[in-house]
Symmetry: C2
Amino acid sequence: MRPKTNYEFVRQTLRSEIIEGVIEPGARLVQTELAKRLDVSTTPVREALQDLAREGLVLLDPHRGAVVRSLSLDEVREIYELRMVLEPMLLRKAVSELDGKELDHARRLYERMETEQDVSRWAELNREFHHTLFAPADGTRLGDIVASLRDSAIPYVALSLAKPDQRADSNAEHAELLAHLRDGDLDAAERLTRDHLAATLRAIEESRSTLS
Amino acid sequence: MRPKTNYEFVRQTLRSEIIEGVIEPGARLVQTELAKRLDVSTTPVREALQDLAREGLVLLDPHRGAVVRSLSLDEVREIYELRMVLEPMLLRKAVSELDGKELDHARRLYERMETEQDVSRWAELNREFHHTLFAPADGTRLGDIVASLRDSAIPYVALSLAKPDQRADSNAEHAELLAHLRDGDLDAAERLTRDHLAATLRAIEESRSTLS
DNA sequence: GCAATCCATACTGTGCACTTTATAAAGTCT
DNA sequence: AGACTTTATAAAGTGCACAGTATGGATTGC
């Protein structure tokens, strides 16, 4: 199903292509090329790029064009530092309004993740898993900020997910998180969230230092 | 001095008009009207509106148009709750890279605020004062988030500033903050920042409940 | 070797046509 | 007759083709 405006269609398309790594960090985004490929005019493309720029996924210089933003390790660290502060807050806010249906959905996602072998499919499930838990806070400032931070970092998380045991660790933590939520133990859930993020950051740092 | 692109010009113009209250919360923003008034075509206006929408200053429904976002008390509370967490972090980050020149500038701003009687001029100085202290963190995620949160709330802070003693309190707190920074007492500065925000929020809550 | 100029590329802005939405009037059903 | 649905119309947002313009690199001349 296609969104009701073209610029929204372009935005969503580019967004997921960047997040999934189809378009790599550093790649140039030429308006006319994208317009031709997506079969729209340049105007909606331009508007989508500006939107992505404000979100931090893309770097946009006036009269010079757009490139997919590539993050330094320091920037990734900043994102995780922020998430470690904000996600526990968000969790507390969202969980109180979370009903059983959404928790069930999260549980099903978790079960699928346990058996999923394909990395990119696992990552997509992971994204949906977290989104589901935070769904009640969707329109809020905090919800938007966290979602945007998480998306910005996804291409870099991918690096650390290459190792299967990293995914296994994540799965275990997800199970634990669901258990805490079921028991209503918010403090433990908050702590786990922070630890989960810290562990992910460490994994990214390691995979980074062995590469570049 | 006019920015090098038209859409940036429109963005800055509308932004300051909204923040200063020239355009009131709830007001409709019609593309063609704005375009005629600012003597540009509708395209740059549209792009500016989308930018402001993503920033949270404006509400934009596809095919229906834009209105200046008006915040409920709950939303103002959320903004302050976030600022109370993030600004101390930002302070710590920015201050370590703050050189004497910027601190001097902040001090001069503070001195002007002490004698300034006009409310809107005082508010503008206040904005510049805080911006100066956080300037080193300008390009960072955290810096952008805090700046955007602060701007969103400005029209509502204005309510509480009507009372002169509220401004006097703020002036005193600014002096104290500068003293802490000079002494390098970051812990005290952080605490003060939080208290300052809490006090402002309380003032807003009071002025709100007596009005609506 | 350096600087000014030229040129290709791609972004920005305009005017217009198209589409959607909301309002109001006319028609239909019970 | 009243309420609901349908249809016309006006207002405003969206998208497109094309013209205008800024940027970076190549070329020319000194």
